[in-house]
């Protein structure tokens, strides 16, 4: 069907991009793999030596690694249901007829949080959640809550910002799903029942499933990536209360200078990511 094109032409079109991306996206990974097989400490560079899989052994038996991974999953487990619940609520409101102008404005304001520089979200957190001069304590009726210095509160604060920043994303994804429901089917269902939950459950939900799966996978990947906002807000602290997986790897590699160990952790994280990406592509790009 498509015209025959010589292999040379194809290469000329696609080659530069592939070479470019391989140079910055694959070569470093191979180097990380090499590093992960060595004792490689930035403060003891004279002593770089091959130690096989020892770093991997250390990582896999290291409670700190598993705790950081567990903490990351806890964050996901708390934030994602909130994002889906609130996001679905917002999507359902926006999907209702009427108040067009207000809804357009609401949709535009939803765009703002998810475009905001993550680092700025963290800085905003510092200012707004400050125990003494913070507006959050003021709005809570002059409460005297130590948000940043207390392990549990710091975690709650991270959940708050993650929910603030990404609920709009979930809402807009689900809204896109709701608009896919054929109008006549939805109307027919509404004539049958005035119960919105039944309409959601039996008519709209099938159209929401692809969006929900996308949200589930992408939010998982993004939580594994989460660094900027937490780094600027708590640096993983207090103690290790908010040290999620990417922060832990950064600390091991750049603050404890153990590049070998950090690389092993990074490779393990990469493997988790590849599995996630596989699932994503299997679900969404079957036709490619």
């Amino acid at each position: 069907m498509r015209g025959r094109v010589s292999r040379g032409t194809i290469l000329a079109f696609i080659g530069p991009a592939v070479v470019g991306l391989a140079a910055v996206g694959i070569a470093p990974l191979l180097y990380a793999l090499w590093t992960s097989l060595h004792f490689f400490n930035l403060t003891k560079l004279r002593r770089v030596e091959f130690i096989g899989l020892e770093n991997y052994g250390t990582v896999l038996t290291d409670p700190v690694f598993w705790q950081a991974l567990g903490r990351t999953m806890t964050l996901l487990g708390i934030a994602l249901p909130l994002q889906i619940g609130l996001g679905l609520g917002i999507a359902l409101i926006l999907h209702q007829p009427g108040l067009t102008l207000l809804k357009t404005l609401a949709r535009l304001s939803l765009v703002l949080p998810m475009a905001t520089t993550y680092a700025v979200v963290g800085l905003l957190g510092q200012v707004m959640f400050n125990q003494k001069f913070g507006v959050v304590n003021q709005l809570m009726g002059g409460a005297d809550i130590n948000w940043i210095g207390d392990p549990t509160n710091a975690f709650v604060m991270i959940v708050f910002w993650d929910v603030w920043q990404w609920t709009p994303f979930v809402a807009l994804v689900l809204l896109a799903g709701l608009t896919m429901v054929p109008g006549e089917i939805e109307e027919a269902a509404r004539l049958e029942t005035s119960n919105w939950w039944k309409v959601l459950r039996h008519v709209q939900l099938p159209f929401l499933v692809p969006g929900l799966v996308a949200v589930l996978i992408l939010r998982t990947a993004d939580t594994l990536k989460l660094f900027d906002m937490v780094f600027t807000l708590t640096r993983g602290g207090p103690g290790s209360a908010t040290e999620f997986i990417s922060l832990m790897i950064q600390r091991v590699g750049f603050r404890a200078f153990d590049q070998g160990l950090a690389s092993a952790q990074a490779i393990i994280l990469l493997i988790i990511t590849i599995v996630l990406a596989q699932i994503y592509i299997r679900v969404f790009y079957r036709e490619v």
């Binding site: 032409t9 696609i14 949709r107 800085l123």
Partner: protein, 274 residues
Amino acid sequence: MAAPRTRPLYGQAILLIAIMLLCVFPFYWMVTTSLKTHVVALEAPPVWFFEPTLANYREALFEDGVFRSLLNSLIIAICTTALALVLGVPAAFALARFEFRGKKDLWFWFITNRMISPIVLALPFFLIARNLDLLDKHITLILIYLTFNLPIVIWIVTDQFRGVPYDLDEAARLEGASQWTIMARICLPLAMPGVAVSAIFAFIFSWNELMFGLVLTRTNAKTAPAMAVSFMEGYNLPYGKIMATSTLIVIPVLIFALLASKQLVRGLTMGAVK
């Protein structure tokens, strides 16, 4: 009939306004704090009404080097976006128009790049850049930002090229046009909206990025987010200045995001959600 229909509308309106307030309030607080003097910013409890001053902006921009870091961010974001377009547009054309083996693997690779945690690349890139004397240089960030910009450009533009009718190619080929001419003269002008949106995405992602900037730059090529974070040292934090810098960082991305708001969800999901 009219009465029961208007009541839920009130409820709806209140909820919508609440949603907007929640979305916008942090920005309001950021901007107002940036207009407070150091003394006012440290008042407890915080004050809502005060005499605004631009002193924080003046100090941050011209005394603390924020101007330069914004310029660095701008240079880096524009160059990496341009490079991603130059490399990505022909690749997108090939993906949309040619059949070849390994197409699926390429897709998979792009999606994986979207999901990889930047720390995974930051570790080896730091060591490589150190060995090649590339630390604290703009080019380093320009190149490494391709890891997320190139996939997003290729994805969006491929989709756009697919929407250009194939008949046009056919007609041009009968006239003897080469594939390059077909792309440049026929398909590209029609795919411009997609190219523009992908450029906005690449710009936003690069502008917002912190970790690589933190790890790979010191002073010369320091990006604006890294600069903002460096104010966070010490005890008496200059909140007004930090918020002024934050405002300067955030305003351009918010404008771009609003411009591309219709495509934002598509872009963020790599097209899985239309």
